[in-house]
C-alpha cells in the first residue's frame, strides 16, 4: 500500500490530521488498532466548548461522530483493526491485521497514538473491579454496561470528577474520592459542585483492596484513621502519559517533561520528531485539551505536506502560524509552558532535527 501520508491512530488528532492532509490534496492512509475510529473521544459524554474555529460545541462523542462522518465522506483510506508493529529497513511502517503483516509506503508519517492512564499501585490493585477511570467511562458510555454499583474514585483531577459524575448519572453510588494531596486538584468548579455530596478524603491512600475473586471492599488510610467500605468498583485516575512505542520503533528521540505527562517524543514547532519523516499530533505530544489536540493534528498534517513538497514553505508557515495562535488561546497554562519549553529545547539543536548517532 502506498500513500503520501500515513497516519497512525484514528483518534481526534489522527482524524483531524487526515482530513487536513486530504483537504490539501494528499493521498492519506489512516490506521487504528481498534475496531472503530474515534479513539478515546468515543466515550466522552461531557460537553466541549473550547474548540477551534469550524467546530460546533457539543459533547465529545458527537464531536467525533461528525469528524468520522467527514472522514468516511473523504478520500482518506481508513483501516481499523490494523496495528503498527514495526518498521522495515527502508523506513516503511509495518502493519498487521492479526493475520498478515505488510508495509505501508508513505512519504511522511504522522504518529498520533494518544496517551495511556498511569497506574496507581496498592495491594489488591489487580483484582477484577479495580480499573482505570477511563475503563469505567468506556464501559458506561461506549459499551452501555455498568461496571459496578458502589465505587470509590482514586484521584481528584478533572478526569476523576468527570468520570465520577458520569458514573453517578448512570446510577453508580460514588462513596468517596481518595486523594493523596491535601486538597482537590479538580479545577472545574461546576463539576465539583455537582458532586459536593461525595466525601473527599484528602491526604489519604488506599491500604488494600480485598475480595474473593473480585473487589468487595477497600481500606483507606486517612488522617482520621483507617476507613473501610464495601465497594465493587475502584476507579483509578492518576493522569495520562504519552504512548511511546510507535516513536521508539521509528527511532525518535524522547525527552522528559513532567507537565506533558512524563516521557514524550522530542518535537519542533512543525511537530516534527527527530526522525524527519515522522510527525506527532495529539495526546502523544503531551497536549491534553480537545481543541489543541485537534489543532495539533492540523499542524502536523501541514508540516508533513511541506516535508513532501505538497505545500510550499511559505504557505505552510502561514497555515501553521494561524493554528498555533489559535491553539495557544485554547491551551491550559501548564501544558502551554511545558510544550513551549520542549519546542525551545528542540530549537537549540541542528535543523532539521536529526538524531546524532
Amino acid at each position: 500500500m502506498e500513500a503520501d501520508v500515513l497516519i497512525v491512530g484514528a483518534g481526534p488528532a489522527g482524524i483531524s490530521a487526515a482530513l487536513t492532509a486530504e483537504k490539501f490534496g494528499a493521498k492519506v492512509i489512516l490506521i487504528d488498532e481498534s475496531f472503530s475510529p474515534g479513539g478515546q473521544l468515543r466515550q466522552q459524554t461531557q460537553y466541549f466548548s473550547n474548540l477551534p474555529t469550524g467546530y460546533a460545541p457539543d459533547i465529545g462523542l458527537k464531536v467525533i461522530e461528525t469528524l468520522i462522518k467527514h472522514l468516511y465522506a473523504s478520500s482518506v483510506q481508513v483501516y481499523t483493526n490494523h496495528t503498527m508493529i514495526g518498521a522495515y529497513k527502508n523506513g516503511m511502517i509495518g502493519v498487521t491485521d492479526g493475520n498478515k503483516t505488510f508495509p505501508i509506503l508513505a512519504r511522511a508519517n504522522i504518529l498520533a497514538p494518544g496517551a495511556q492512564e498511569e497506574a496507581k499501585i496498592f495491594p489488591g490493585w489487580t483484582l477484577p473491579g479495580v480499573m482505570t477511570a477511563g475503563a469505567a467511562q468506556i464501559l458506561i458510555n461506549r459499551e452501555s454496561v455498568l461496571p459496578g454499583k458502589r465505587a470509590v474514585m482514586i484521584g481528584t483531577n478533572n478526569f476523576a470528577f468527570t468520570v465520577a459524575k458520569q458514573l453517578h448519572d448512570c446510577g453508580v453510588t460514588i462513596e468517596a474520592f481518595i486523594e493523596e494531596k491535601s486538597q482537590i486538584t479538580c479545577s472545574d468548579g461546576i463539576l465539583r459542585d455537582e458532586l459536593k455530596h461525595v466525601p473527599v478524603w484528602t491526604e489519604s491512600t488506599v491500604q488494600i483492596a480485598q475480595g474473593t475473586g473480585q473487589v468487595e471492599r477497600v481500606s483507606v488510610h486517612t488522617p482520621e484513621g483507617r476507613k473501610e467500605i464495601d465497594v465493587d468498583l475502584i476507579c483509578i485516575s492518576n493522569g495520562f502519559t504519552p504512548i511511546l512505542e510507535p516513536f521508539v520503533i521509528m527511532d525518535c528521540e524522547l525527552t522528559y517533561k513532567k507537565h506533558l505527562g512524563g516521557w514524550v517524543p522530542l518535537y519542533n514547532e512543525k511537530l516534527q520528531t527527530t526522525n524527519p519523516s515522522c510527525f506527532i499530533a495529539g495526546n502523544a505530544a503531551g497536549i491534553t485539551d480537545l481543541g489543541p489536540i485537534l489543532l495539533t493534528g492540523e499542524i502536523a498534517a501541514i508540516s508533513a505536506l511541506e516535508e513532501i513538497g505538497i505545500l510550499n514553505s511559505e504557505e505552510a508557515e502561514i497555515e501553521r502560524r494561524k493554528r498555533w495562535l489559535e491553539l495557544e488561546k485554547l491551551e491550559n497554562t501548564a501544558v502551554c509552558q511545558a510544550r513551549k519549553n520542549l519546542i525551545a529545547s528542540s530549537r537549540s539543536r541542528q535543523s532539521p532535527l536529526t538524531k546524532s548517532k
Binding site: 464501559l139 458510555n141 452501555s144 454496561v145 455498568l146 448512570c170 504512548i243
Partner: protein, 107 residues
C-alpha cells in the same frame, strides 16, 4: 449489568447476540466488546495470573495492560477489551500459559 437507557445516549444497542463463556450461553448486545459483554452478565473474573494465581479482569479497556486476556474460539491470549462479541462465540477464561503443543490453539 446492561445500561438499557443511558442518561445521555438513550438506547444505544438494539441487536442481541448469544455467546458462550465456559460453555454457558449468555446474551450480549451486538457492538459490545467481549469484556463488556461478560461484565454485563456479571462476569468480571477473566483469568488467573500466572505466578500467584490471582484473579484478573478488565483494567485499562484500551488494549494496553493485557489483564483481560481470554481464549476465544480456540485462540489463546485474545484481548477481550479489543474484540467485538459475535454470535456463537466461544469464550474461556485465560488460566494458564498457552501450550504450543496443544491442538486447540488457533493459528
Amino acid at each position: 449489568m446492561q445500561i438499557h437507557i443511558h442518561p445521555v445516549l438513550g438506547e444505544k444497542f438494539t441487536e442481541e447476540v448469544t455467546f458462550y463463556f465456559n460453555n454457558k450461553p449468555l446474551k450480549a448486545k451486538k457492538g459490545q466488546t467481549v469484556a463488556a459483554a461478560l461484565m454485563a452478565n456479571g462476569i468480571r473474573n477473566l483469568g488467573t495470573s500466572r505466578k500467584f494465581l490471582q484473579p484478573r479482569g478488565l483494567y485499562c479497556a484500551t488494549g494496553r495492560c493485557m489483564s483481560c486476556f481470554v481464549t476465544i474460539n480456540g485462540v489463546e491470549h485474545v484481548l477481550s477489551c479489543m474484540t467485538l462479541v459475535d454470535e456463537g462465540m466461544k469464550v474461556f477464561p485465560s488460566n494458564e500459559d498457552p501450550d504450543p503443543g496443544s491442538e486447540i490453539n488457533g493459528s
